[in-house]
């Protein structure tokens, strides 16, 4: 069967059954037609879900951390800031939801960097695919993580006594807008994930950005008590605009301007950081 001049007799004798089934497996040289970018992106999203299935520990950051944050801020500061924990919760919950999900976006860069440091990304890059699909797929998988984190925060809030006037539609709308914005932010961290050398560096730099941006916002307190220089930062902080839109949606008072602002910011983030990510990805 072997036409190789250099093939030794061993090829024919050592593992005949393997050779036969292998030859059969190789006999089909047909090539399926090339899949669409949507199919390959969804397939990479499926991979992200499989990884959650096999390594469920990686969901700690979207399940346990939000619970700790919500409980801690509600009961530590609620009485002092708003007179009672339950009053504070009405104010805090949309904001803590934002902080939880925005922190989770750092993991997008962390995961990408980890992936690249292993050989499997080389294989994906050597396939004839729509090139952004591994990254788009990763963001799709992360959207599932963001949704889990959102569900944990909202359900915990409802148990603790959070009562959104916007009703089910308002809350779902708020979560949806947040997921959209988070996928825009995710491109910042895919960029970082490609620039920085190690996953831990991505984590460190990511947190260095996320922490000041989320705390210096209207998430925890009304900015009117802050010094004016800080107020002016809070006023331009995109996170503040996002939180305002979230509060509006959950209480049923959102203006089209608030929501429009979030969508424009998402488009702007994607327009800058998605091409930058792709440029870096191609160059690696």
């Amino acid at each position: 069967m072997s036409t190789q001049p250099s093939a030794s007799p061993r090829a024919g004798t050592s593992s005949t059954t393997v050779d036969d089934s292998l030859a059969a497996a190789l006999s089909s040289r047909s090539r399926p037609s090339r899949p669409s970018g949507v199919t390959t992106s969804l397939t990479f999203g499926w991979r992200a879900l499989l990884k959650i299935k096999h390594v469920p520990e990686q969901l700690f950051d979207v399940t346990i951390t939000p619970v700790i944050f919500t409980l801690m801020f509600t009961y530590l500061f609620g009485g002092a800031l708003a007179g009672s924990a339950s009053d504070y919760l009405q104010f805090l919950l949309p904001g803590i939801l934002v902080q939880t999900v925005i922190i989770t976006t750092v993991y997008t860069g962390f995961t990408l960097n980890t992936d690249i440091s292993k050989g499997v990304f080389d294989r994906f890059r050597s396939l004839p695919l729509w090139r952004p699909s591994p990254l788009v797929g990763a963001l799709l998988g992360d959207a599932v993580r963001y949704a889990i984190a959102s569900t944990v925060v909202v359900v915990l809030g409802l148990i603790l006594g959070f009562r959104p006037d916007g009703g089910v539609v308002g809350v779902l709308g708020a979560v949806l807008i947040l997921l959209v914005f988070a996928s825009g932010i995710g491109w910042i961290f895919t960029t970082l994930g490609l620039v920085l050398r190690t996953p831990n560096a991505v984590m460190g730099v990511g947190m260095m950005i996320i922490m000041p941006v989320t705390f210096a916002s209207n998430i925890f307190v009304d900015p009117s008590t802050m010094p004016s220089w800080l107020q002016s930062f809070v006023d331009v902080n995109p996170i503040s605009h996002l939180v305002t839109a979230e509060r509006g949606l959950m209480s049923g008072t959102a203006s089209a301007g608030d929501i429009g602002w979030v969508l424009v910011a998402t488009v702007a983030l994607t327009a800058v950081f998605a091409p930058l990510t792709m440029y870096l990805y191609r160059r690696r």
Binding site: V18, A25, S27, P32, K51, S126
Partner: protein, 329 residues
């Protein structure tokens, strides 16, 4: 038939620098379709960097390369549709099972879910991984890991398969399995470009071999040609009586016209010869003059000797560093 259409891989003057390091420094390659081509060299010689350029993972700083007539830079997407790479390190997702990895790749290559599943089962069975199909790849042994790596490269049978050090770190049995797989692949018509630090491996598998060192091809040819370039080989003689060795040394030196080496073994003599015709004559003379010859052999030089002759240093890999530093780039 014209020569260029016979070539699966054609590279000329490929260069890749990383800072001051000339990882690949003007490499020319010509790989005929349907053959196994060995790229032989020690760690850090530039093998991985060359393969990464040929598989579109990295762009050359200078030079050109074509795979089945397609330029690896300008027609990268077409090249990706024809080649497959099994990298030196894990090239599947260790968190996923064997089946999941192959279904993932099948889907990415355009199979439907059912077709991808069927292909995965077929390959896992063919590679003797049926029992491990639903186990995470990180729990596989070294040999199994290598087999799933290769299976992942032929979910759709490629026209040209690049294998970057496919047997580094494997035990002999797993290595033989990988060799068998490569032989079957080639008999099915796939062209294989194989990098290796093992001379034996290139000798066993490759139709032609390029010896690469410090980013340059320092010799190219069949293993026979490479061996012939350093002389016919070595003659080894063992005597019955150690006392006769000085006399035998004199006679052999005269008959062969080359210096004769005396081994630690008190009855053994070795000489490098250029002309094998002289050997039979020399042995006959020894016997005729009453020197008892217990055994003699005329061995082809090993590729180790070839490498030593070409570079002035042995090709033995640096066993303390498994990883090619070039891979980090």
């Amino acid at each position: 038939m014209s020569t260029s259409s016979d070539l699966a891989v054609e590279a000329s003057g490929l260069v890749k620098h990383f800072g001051d390091t000339h990882a690949v420094d003007g490499v020319d390659l010509a790989v005929r379709t349907g053959t196994v081509y060995g790229v032989l060299g020690p760690n850090g010689a530039g093998k991985t960097t060359a393969v990464r350029m040929l598989t579109t993972l990295s762009q050359p700083d200078a030079g050109t390369a074509h795979v089945l007539g397609h330029d690896v830079v300008r027609e990268a997407d077409a090249v990706r549709g024809l080649v497959s790479l099994t990298g030196q390190f894990a090239s599947v997702d260790e968190d996923l099972t064997g089946t999941e990895n192959l279904v993932l790749l099948g889907r990415l290559l355009g199979y439907t879910r059912a077709q991808a599943r069927e292909r995965a089962d077929e390959l896992l069975t063919a590679f003797g991984l049926g029992d491990a199909a639903d186990r995470q790849v990180k729990k596989y042994s070294g040999g199994m890991h290598r087999r799933i790596d290769i299976a992942a490269s032929i979910v759709v049978t490629p026209e040209v398969l690049f294998l970057d050090e496919p047997t580094t770190g494997l035990d002999p049995r797993s290595r033989n399995q990988v060799w068998d797989i490569i032989r079957v692949l080639v008999s099915g018509g796939t062209t294989v470009v194989l990098t290796t630090q093992y001379l034996d491996e290139a000798d066993q598998l490759a139709n032609r071999i390029a010896v690469i060192d410090h980013g340059k091809v320092i010799a190219e040819g069949t293993s026979g040609q490479l061996k012939a370039s350093v002389g016919v080989g070595a003659v080894h003689v063992r005597l019955r009586d150690p006392d006769q060795r000085p006399a035998a040394e004199q006679q052999l030196t005269a008959a062969l016209g080359v210096p004769v080496l005396l081994d630690h073994d008190p009855v053994a003599l070795t000489a490098r010869v250029e002309n094998s015709d002289l050997v039979a004559h020399a042995i006959a003379e020894l016997t005729a003059s009453g020197i008892g010859v217990a055994e003699f052999s005329l061995g082809q030089p090993s590729l180790d000797e070839v490498f030593l002759a070409l570079t002035g240093r042995p090709a033995e890999p640096d066993t303390t560093s498994e990883s090619d530093e070039e891979n980090a780039a």
